[in-house]
Symmetry: C2
Subunit: 399 residues, 2 copies
């Protein structure tokens, strides 16, 4: 970890970078410099002291408006901070502002650009958090993942992105998309910083270095839907880490493709009020995905939920991880797509989100056109420490 600045200096530095890059990047919904400077002076002393923070605008904040990426909530001011925000602030992190989210953390993007090439998407739904971290505007940012909303933008923007085990980070004050999938995630360019934020948010110890980690590569059912450069990067990573080959257990087949059933069935209900009272302020794309959720039979939803529950059972998890600690798999289909209208495809994240397993996108590779491509690592439930150690090993070997 690089030595930390004191909080007021860190804030001035951050706003310097923001002044330079925000006009193109468009990572922020709201920034409050005065508030951030005041917060830097009076921030509690903690393990995150001197670190600047960006928060996806899907989390409530008591002192900044919260719009959930929707005009329905234009200017909305919550009463309280989301629990995750409160935990980070109480550990000393200084909140600079709210980062851009797609509409209600679904697919419809705002105008955030990729810091590596402004004609390309940063990914979504945690678009602004990934982009702001990648551009050096903040030390750490939080987002959420319901399908691939942390891992994918982390991969596209070339930063570390962690989606921890489902349920480890509190969701109070988070606008729900699909509650059985919604998971708070963390972005940073520094693995130790990310781990400290993870420790604070999960109220657990920071990771300690441990023995060697063993790996297997899992190409998944979607393998041929990844671009060639992406597949080559996964293969070379597997070779570098002496990974075994691993097939998906039969119990997990089909689940990645069926995960959208869970997302849309739950999502259609979560936004019940907005759909009744402001249908005209919901994008046609989102309306369509929620309408599909209305048409699903409860039996279709129940079937996926039951298969996922079995997939999370100790029996299947042990089959998946037999004799290895960490799985290597694509984070996305490849480089960030060109254009700002589509945030990319989450298909390589859906299975791991549905299973609630911890996932980490590790940067360090460039694709065919020179844009970042992350490698996704997966560990057993609650084995975030193993995941962090695995990422350290991978980073060390890439140097």
């Amino acid at each position: 970890m690089t030595p930390r600045l004191d909080a007021p200096t860190a804030v001035e530095h951050a706003f310097g970078v923001i002044a330079e890059r925000e006009s193109v990047l468009q990572a922020w919904v709201v920034l409050d410099e005065d508030n951030a400077r005041a917060a830097a002076r009076r921030a509690p002393v903690g393990v995150l002291s001197g670190l600047t923070l960006g928060v996806k605008d899907i989390f409530d904040t008591a002192d900044l408006p919260t719009e959930y990426g929707s005009p329905i909530y234009a200017g909305f001011q919550p009463h309280a901070d989301a629990a995750a925000v409160a935990l980070l602030r109480s550990a000393g992190a200084v909140l600079l502002g709210k980062t851009v989210t797609t509409e209600f953390a679904w697919s419809t993007p705002a105008g955030t650009t990729n810091p590596h090439r402004p004609t390309h998407t940063p990914g979504g739904s945690s678009s602004g958090s990934a982009a702001a971290v990648a551009a050096g505007m903040v030390d750490v940012a939080i987002g959420t993942q319901t399908a691939g909303s942390v891992i994918r933008p982390a991969s596209f923007c070339g930063v570390f992105g962690l989606k921890p085990t489902f349920g480890l980070i509190p969701t109070a004050g988070l606008k729900p998309a699909a509650p059985s999938l919604d998971t708070v995630g963390i972005f940073s360019t520094d693995l130790d910083t990310l781990d400290l934020a993870r420790a604070v948010l999960t109220r657990r110890s920071p990771s300690s270095r441990r023995g060697a980690v063993s790996f297997a590569v899992v190409r998944t059912e979607q393998w041929l839907e990844a671009d060639l450069d992406c597949r080559q990067i996964v293969e070379s990573t597997a070779e570098l880490l002496a990974a075994r080959d691993r097939e998906l257990p039969e119990a997990l087949l089909g689940l990645a493709d069926d995960a959208p059933i869970v997302q849309s069935f739950e999502g259609a209900a979560s936004l019940a009020w907005e759909r009744q009272h402001h249908p005209e302020l919901i994008s046609a794309e989102l309306r369509g995905r929620l309408a599909w959720g209305d048409e699903l039979l409860p039996a279709e939803y129940d079937d996926v939920v039951q298969r996922a529950a079995y997939g999370r059972s100790a029996k299947v998890i042990e089959e998946l991880f037999a004799d290895v600690d960490v799985l290597i798999t694509p984070a996305a289909t490849g480089e960030a797509p060109e254009g700002l209208g589509f945030t990319g495809d989450p298909r390589f994240c859906r299975l791991w989100t549905l299973l609630g397993l911890p996932a980490l996108s590790v940067p360090g590779h460039l694709g065919a056109s020179g844009m970042p491509i992350g490698v996704q690592l997966i560990a057993r439930p609650r084995a975030e420490d193993v995941l962090i150690q695995a990422a350290h090993e991978l980073v060390a070997r890439l140097r």
Copy 2:
């Protein structure tokens, strides 16, 4: 089901009962007669048309303040209705007001009294919803259960109380206590009305009558902690329904007593902002329970979570329900305790909440002092239709 009044007449009738009984009952935090009358005139036509509704003040409402039972939120006005409220209103139910919750749906009660005897607690945390339904003030009310907050007050107040399968009713706009346990529940004096509200909230069909239901009685590890009259009622119900005897599977032993670990560990994080910014406005009782959550080791929490996950596995559930459809077990330790400072003990609900199984408290019995005692029925995951049918059978036999 009794024939329905038209909505405006139903609202006038409801406010008549409220005018008569609210001064003693204290079931409501806020009532808005003008708003309710206007809503009655313009309510959408749906399966709940003509039904009056009370909503526990732990759910957000766009047109009524929402205080979560805490002075920290005095006068707080949310922007939107909770998803569950929106679903009920869009099916025609008319919201009269917000019912009393204990502090953040934990244990510290407000002054609601039991409609059967005002010197006794109505139970909690859904105190006002259970009491208002029992007093005939509303046709249906919703609450939440994290330990025993629907089943227990339903038992104490002598009404039907349903805690459906975990996750079936959307939680968006609900103030979380412990997200892996929090479940939206429903109260009514009429089983068919309750079932219709359940169908609307879960977006599933109303129950249809089916063949005979088979029963087993499960006395649980807490059996001797129930009062004699309560145990006799469970035994006579078992006899009436020709129930077999069923022991708890070994995998479930100890879970009821360990469920508070999950509740307090998660609860301590969910209220992170309130604890940092307004500790002096949190009751000493709740502060203590959350402080205990802080002291728990993550490993203790993880252990209960893992044992509960195994308890929810198809293997254990099939052992629990082998050859029967529904379990009979106590709903509470007995009659509502005297006094308003303690809402009663949830120990007979904790296991079923932790397992996420649907539970229904069926009224029809009186305890030794003449206060209601409910019998709790439990079914397999998502088998709410079986539970409703079982309750119909029990009610028919009690006549």
